[in-house]
């Protein structure tokens, strides 16, 4: 039976080539846009290099203080993370790192823009950076304030050129010489909490971060739980801590900060009253709706036209006793075959589009790829399209009166 439907579908597709082209064009381009979008989202928030222990980590990125005269919101100070967050019992490790900052270095009369970032020792134990050579700095080196640095592959190439090993060599940044002890694989700048060109021990900074008792500063923290089961407990403990600790000054009467999953912390706005997740989610939904509604309407239009064209066929089948259900089923199958064909072209097109986008290098080190999740989502979208654009025309067709259908020709 299905084989018959398939044959009929192919025959119909070949009969009106222009209509087939319009349908396939609409389906494949819509799918391409959706696939590229999902590939991008998947890479930006779904890629787990270098924080592979995401499922048992919570991220602390913002603190908002508000009072009568206004509010301030920012990343946190080293003191806050070390003193308060560091005293929590559930986390087994607490990685602390500053946001990346820019400086310059000049090699052979050429200027290099360098981003640097300060971290503690736990940071390297939570994050699983891939070291192409050397290793991370240890707690001992941090306590001694050794001028050592872990650099990215890009930095190695730009500063030292094409040489096999740079461990033990000195790199100058911000007018200070650091000894390179490790080289890690690049992180794209879209992972803004983890990205940097040079990673340094927080103790070598020209600013002494351990001084001062302000709550706001340049740092963010990652707490690692023993197991995934401990994560909710860790979150509760953090919230309990936030209720307990005193206000930074009399100016403020409320403080908000949360230990969040990676995705929530990624889109954190730093403002308690506007959730980043909601904003991003709404934006994506509106975009997807816009991109899909129009082609679907278009497909419905085309499908109705095509089906009405076949009214005599429908009339004959009805006259010989085919039920409405059978006919709707047949047309749905035909339509789904059509959408899958479009989907196939769409996958090929998105493959090309992603190659082109990658070759533009819009964002350094962000290499998009079609993975199986994306492909699965694509096929699901196709199926949904097929149903959506096939149901209404099929229903209208099945309502056709036998006599009128046969008389039409």
């Amino acid at each position: 039976m299905l084989k018959n439907y398939f044959k009929i579908a192919i025959a119909v597709l070949r009969r009106r080539k222009f209509f087939t082209f319009i349908s396939l064009f609409g389906i494949s381009f819509t799918l391409t846009i959706l696939l590229v979008l999902t590939a991008f989202l998947d890479k930006v928030v779904g890629d787990s290099y270098p924080d592979r222990k995401r499922d048992r980590s919570l991220y602390v990125t913002h603190l908002q203080e508000s009072g009568k005269d206004g509010q301030s919101s920012s990343t946190l100070s080293y003191y806050f993370l070390n003193h308060f967050v560091g005293s929590l019992k559930t986390p087994v490790k607490l990685g602390i790192s500053s946001g990346y900052e820019g400086t310059n270095t000049y090699v052979n009369n050429k200027k290099l823009a360098v981003n640097y970032k300060y971290t503690n020792a736990d940071y390297w134990e939570i994050m699983e950076y891939d070291f192409t050579e050397g290793k991370a700095f240890s707690k001992q080196q941090i306590d001694n304030a050794d001028k050592v640095a872990v650099i990215s592959e890009d930095m190695k190439r730009d500063y030292f050129g094409d040489i096999p090993s740079v461990v033990g060599k000195y790199i100058e940044a911000d007018n200070v010489k650091y000894r390179v002890i490790g080289v890690v694989k690049n992180v794209p700048i879209t992972s803004y909490n983890l990205y940097s060109d040079i990673y340094l021990p927080y103790t070598v900074s020209k600013t002494d971060f351990t001084k001062g008792k302000g709550y706001l500063g340049d740092f963010t923290g990652v707490m690692l739980a023993k197991s995934t089961d401990d994560v909710p407990r860790m979150r509760d403990e953090y919230d309990a801590m936030m209720r307990r600790i005193p206000m930074e000054s009399k100016q403020f009467n409320k403080m908000y900060s949360h230990a969040q999953s990676y995705i929530r912390s990624y889109v954190e706005t730093g403002n308690e009253s506007s959730s980043g997740v909601t904003i991003v989610f709404t934006a994506i939904v509106i975009f997807v709706l816009l991109v899909t509604v129009l082609p679907t309407l278009n497909l419905v239009n085309i499908n109705i036209t095509r089906i009405m064209e076949r009214s005599s066929e429908i009339g004959v089948r009805k006259a010989f006793g085919a039920s409405s259900g059978t006919l709707v089923y047949q047309f749905l199958v035909e339509n789904i075959i059509l959408t899958f064909l479009g989907g196939l072209i769409g996958v090929v097109l998105s493959f090309i589009a992603i190659q082109v986008l990658n070759s533009f290098r819009l964002i350094p080190n962000l290499v998009l790829s079609i993975n199986f999740t994306v492909l699965g989502i694509g096929l699901l979208v196709c199926f949904f399209f097929g149903l959506l654009s096939g149901v209404y025309p099929a229903w209208r067709m099945s309502k056709l009166n036998v006599v009128t259908a046969l008389k039409a020709q």
Partner: protein, 394 residues
């Protein structure tokens, strides 16, 4: 005649309803895309307001900690002299961290005669700022040595604030209150608004305050205008000088030309993506319309044949079909405009009404052109129908 056409449309209301909703959606999408494009274009054709070529931004932090204001002043005065003495440097200015083409902002509210004005950018800069940036002073003057702390702090506003608060009248000498209305500030000059966020962004309200010893403690930027063609070697030398002078500081030198490119890029990329998506949707709709209209004509061969037989010319037949689709477009555009006109009425995104209206006009023209082009060929095909052949089929 129109009455007759309406009747024809009404008779096929189910099919036409789908066509109309398709046109309606494409109108809304195009309206959104055009609003963005018109907004960017509108900003793009306004002048930059300053010269970014050959201007470098030096960032530093944590430079000099002292309780004594005298030694603080001396510290920065020596730094200024040192930089100024370099032959490649034309002019320099110490200013607050919200320099051009960064995402740093410092916004607040001011009020004039109890009328509040929000989203005002507060800049702090010293006497040589306009010279460094080549800014244009439209009215009054910039700060000079005589501006010491008086009861009413002297400020300079940009032309956007002037237009909003004083319209065509004179701004110099007027008093503006800050957010809590406790403090009054005296306007001493008006400068041309500058596009701080790149070529495609609006200028926004800007208010300049003069640096004082207090602000020297937290400021972290120096703008330097260099001679054209200053080399990387000189930049390295400048960098060393700064890093050696400010031992405890992290120093970074950036070029405004590069920063402009990268901030523009953040506006251009979404714009290009949206235009591609919008373009693709338009092509999609055009093909769909074309297909449906073409099919409809094949369906109505009998009717068209009859009209030709009783004496209608080919032109009359094809113009009837074009009129029909134009009426359909008009109906959906009326509904679409009803939604679109809410944006300027409710002032949804804080854009001027002119932008929305021109975007609406563009979208309407675009839809009409699209529908017209898509019905042109089917119309001509209908005109070519021979009555004898068409009627013979029945």
């Amino acid at each position: 005649m129109f009455k007759h056409l309406f009747k024809l449309i009404w008779n096929k209301k189910k099919q036409n309803f789908l066509l109309m909703s398709e046109m309606l959606f494409s109108f809304l999408v195009l309206f959104a895309v055009f609003t963005l494009l018109v907004y960017y274009y509108d900003n793009y054709k306004k002048p930059m307001g300053f010269e970014y070529q050959n201007v470098w931004v030096i960032s530093y932090n944590n430079a000099y900690q002292t309780k004594s204001t005298d030694s603080l002043n001396t510290y920065y005065e020596i730094l200024r002299q040192n930089i100024k003495a370099m032959p490649e440097v034309r002019e320099l200015s110490f200013c607050s961290f919200n320099t051009p083409f960064t995402n740093n902002m410092s916004q607040g509210r001011i009020s004039y005669h109890k009328k509040p004005l929000d989203h005002v950018n507060f800049y702090t800069a010293d006497e040589s700022f306009p010279a460094t940036m080549n800014m244009q002073i439209l009215e009054g003057r910039w700060f000079n040595k005589t501006d010491v702390a008086t009861k009413n702090k002297p400020i300079v506003i940009n032309s956007d604030i002037k237009e909003q608060l004083f319209g065509k009248g004179a701004a110099v000498g007027q008093l503006i209150s800050n957010y809590d209305e406790k403090e009054k500030m005296r306007v001493i000059g008006v400068v041309q608004s500058i596009k701080m966020k790149g070529d495609y962004a609006a200028t926004g309200y800007g208010l300049y305050q003069k640096t004082d010893t207090g602000s020297l403690r937290w400021m972290g930027k120096i703008m330097v205008q260099v001679v054209p063609g200053a080399s990387a070697a000189f930049e390295g030398h400048l960098y060393k000088t700064l890093a050696n002078y400010m031992k405890n500081s992290n120093v970074e030198i950036e070029h405004l030309t590069n920063k402009r490119t990268s901030i523009n890029y953040f506006t251009l990329v979404p714009m290009i993506v949206l235009s591609i998506v919008g373009g693709f949707l338009a092509i999609n709709v055009a093909l769909g319309l074309f297909g449906v209209l073409w099919y409809n004509i094949n369906q109505r061969r009998g009717e068209i044949g009859l009209r030709r037989a009783v004496g209608a010319s080919g032109g009359a037949v094809s113009s009837q079909l074009i009129y029909e689709s134009m009426i359909l477009a008009t109906l959906s555009l009326i509904v679409g405009s009803f939604f679109a006109v809410q944006f300027p009425l409710l002032n949804v995104f804080d854009l001027s009404a002119g932008i929305y209206i021109s975007a609406m006009l563009l979208a309407i023209t675009f839809i009409y052109a699209l529908v017209f082009l898509c019905s042109l060929y089917p119309g001509r095909q209908a005109a070519a129908i021979y009555p004898a052949v068409a009627l013979h089929e029945e």
